[in-house]
């Protein structure tokens, strides 16, 4: 141990003795957690209810009101908060529709990637041996392939649809979950309490259920929060390249790409959805960071 061993003991042991873990975790449910939570909640509400209020029709055109800057009025007097694009589409409606698509893709991808990753991680970490060797080599190869390249390759081949985007991103995203889960399983597997449970005659399934999985939830939650931002960014990048969601269900990336050729004449078409995207991703980033500090300060490298 270090020179500070006893210090750690004196500080940590009485604290551990006197203060319940849940209370300690609960304390300081601070601004780093609730501010991004409020932002995310706002996005979720906007994504659910926004398109009901301000309808978006991908094929409608309104050439009379094309390229209106933000906060200007249509000729019928209605306010366009975010401006309009080159065919007169309302950008606010487009952005809210984009939020719906981007967040849907993000959550669906995470669920799929998380499920694959956790299963692979537990199998590989808990049962080890050849399963571990094979699965981790597959993960290595997968890591060797820059994720976006794999996504581009697959997208180019199988074509554009929301489902395809989810599949593609999950294929490149499961590795993180698998590695984190495996690491946590390996760390937990050798804890004495797992041995203790085993000596009671517990089955592998009982041990995985009561000892292994509960120890994995916190890091998986943290990874999911940190990852959802990257998934949304990756989806936007794919869509920007024209390989993501189709024009009928435009995500933010599609809108940003639309505005690219209008940069000199209508800056807002690209910029505003970009800002919306950035705020959401930053919120997830702050939230993930805060959760990581709370649950497991040792996971800093991830």
């Amino acid at each position: 141990m270090t020179g500070g061993t006893e210090l750690i003991e004196t500080v940590a042991a009485p604290m551990a003795d006197a203060v319940p873990e849940r209370v300690r975790r609960g304390r300081g449910w601070g601004p780093r957690i609730w501010i991004p939570l409020v932002v995310v909640a706002f996005y979720v509400l906007a994504a659910i209810f926004g398109p009901m209020i301000v309808t978006f029709d991908p094929v409608a055109t309104d050439t009379a009101n094309r390229l209106l800057p933000p906060l200007s009025h249509r000729d019928d007097g209605s306010l366009v908060l975010f401006g309009t694009d080159q065919v007169g589409q309302d950008l606010l409606a487009q952005t809210m529709q984009g939020a719906r698509v981007s967040m849907l893709v993000g959550v669906a991808t995470l669920l799929l990637a998380g499920f694959i990753g956790v299963v692979v991680g537990v199998v590989s970490g808990y049962f080890g041996r050849w399963a571990d060797a094979v699965l981790m080599r597959v993960a290595d190869i997968q890591l060797t392939f820059p994720g976006i390249l794999l996504a581009i390759l697959i997208a180019a081949v199988i074509g554009q649809s929301v489902l395809n985007v989810v599949l593609i991103l999950a294929i490149s995203g499961w590795v993180t979950f698998a590695r984190v889960t495996r690491g946590q399983v390996l760390a937990t597997k050798n804890r004495e309490y797992v041995d203790a449970t085993r000596t009671l005659g517990a089955s592998n399934w009982h041990i995985i259920r009561t000892c292994i999985l509960p120890a994995c939830t916190a890091p998986i939650l943290v990874i999911a929060t940190l990852d959802i931002g990257s998934v949304i960014l990756a989806e936007a990048a794919l869509s920007f390249l024209g390989l993501g969601t189709p024009a009928s269900t435009p995500s933010w990336g599609v809108t940003i790409a639309n505005g690219r050729n209008l940069l000199s004449s209508a800056w807002w078409v690209s910029t505003i959805p970009g800002i919306c995207l950035a705020i959401l991703v930053v919120s997830f980033g702050i939230l993930g960071d805060a959760l990581r500090d709370r649950f497991d300060p040792k996971m800093k490298g991830i």
Binding site: T2, G4, T5, E6, L7
Partner: protein, 346 residues
């Protein structure tokens, strides 16, 4: 600048009167997630030149924090010195800037840590690490520093030091690593060596090697040695004096045989009773558990676990006083020392 203030410690030992290290009324607290805790609470003791002193106590007694404070290694800003003084060679270190203490460290005061593996930098050769103090502090060449490292490794009994000087810490066994630590600590002939649990991480047979090495080196070098440990046994052979700590306070101090054989504090008596010696059928442990340092009991912190406790113990904090009818150097912080001693005789 007065000579005495020079931090390099060029003053020959013995030119000053008074103890080499004097800790007076030292209090240190730590910020934790749920309030401050007092890790060290009004601790006073002296260490004379060439003396071997054992600081004893269980985890949470504040013994290591005291050592860290002396070395200026207290983690900031969590750790805070609330009062008292630490004088080395008559100069109060807490009055001086941190750089003053830092300059004394390595040359005049050196430290040996508990776990030699984590205390050695894994990416540097041991020779580099042993010779580093000499090289950086005295500006000698790399070659000279390496030669010095070989010499020090030889002195602490590492076989074939010429070959091993270029090895990395992980290539050494636990005992050999601790020898490397000792070589590093002694490389500048310090006048005071503080060893914090130097044998706790080692096996019994290796423990014996290291303790006898430390005792031999202490005799040859004439340095003062402070041994911090929870193991009453390992220091019994080598220490002159014992300082027994409980919940951040010194509860008993005196010549080691006095404290061990004629404990005048219920805690020291209880510790002795907890040790299996081979001839008792049943141990007589202290009841209860050490207190939460953030909510120390009033009066004497030991009173909830003490068989002698009275109302006075619950209200009035005992101060160190001479143990009744014992040699003068034997001090105890117990209101009922008389009864404790009488009980021990019976």
């Amino acid at each position: 600048m007065r000579l005495a203030e020079r931090p390099t410690g060029t003053a020959a030992p013995g030119t000053r009167t008074g103890p080499l290290l004097r800790v007076q009324d030292l209090s240190v607290s730590f910020a934790t997630g749920s309030g401050r805790l007092r890790a060290v609470d009004g601790v006073s003791f002296d260490v004379g030149a060439g003396e071997t002193v054992a600081v004893l106590g269980e985890s949470g007694s504040g013994k290591s924090v005291t050592a860290q404070t002396v070395m200026g290694l207290l983690p900031r800003p969590a750790g805070r010195i609330d009062g008292g003084s630490v004088s080395f060679d008559g100069v109060d270190l807490l009055d001086r800037p941190d750089s003053y203490t830092r300059a004394l460290c390595g040359t005049d005061i050196a430290m040996i840590f508990q776990d030699p593996l984590s205390s050695l930098n894994p990416v540097f050769r041991v020779g580099t690490q042993i010779g580093e103090t000499l090289r950086r502090r005295r500006g000698v060449s790399r070659r000279k520093a390496r030669e010095h490292a070989i010499e020090m490794m030889h002195r602490v009994g590492i076989p074939a030091p010429e070959k091993r000087v270029d090895d990395y810490p992980h290539q050494f066994s636990g005992g050999m690593r601790q020898r490397v630590m000792i070589a590093m600590a002694l490389s500048m002939n310090p006048r005071l060596v503080i060893a914090d649990e130097p044998t706790t991480a080692l096996d019994v047979t290796v423990q014996a090697q290291i303790m006898s090495l430390l005792a031999d080196l202490q005799r040859e070098e004439g340095m003062a040695l402070v041994l911090i440990t929870h193991d009453l046994g390992v220091v019994a052979d080598v220490a002159d004096r014992a300082i027994l700590m409980y919940a951040g306070r010194v509860v008993e101090t005196g010549p080691i045989r006095e404290v061990y054989d004629h404990g005048a504090h219920p805690y020291s008596v209880g510790l002795m009773g907890s040790l299996p010696t081979g001839d008792q059928d049943r141990l007589t442990p202290i009841t209860g558990a050490p207190p939460d340092l953030r909510q120390l009991p009033t009066g004497c912190s030991f009173h909830p676990r003490c068989a002698f406790a009275t109302d006075r113990c619950r209200t009035e904090e005992p101060v160190l006083r001479p143990a009744p009818d014992r040699p003068q150097a034997h001090l105890t912080a117990c209101h009922h020392a008389e009864e404790v001693l009488a009980d021990g005789i019976r």
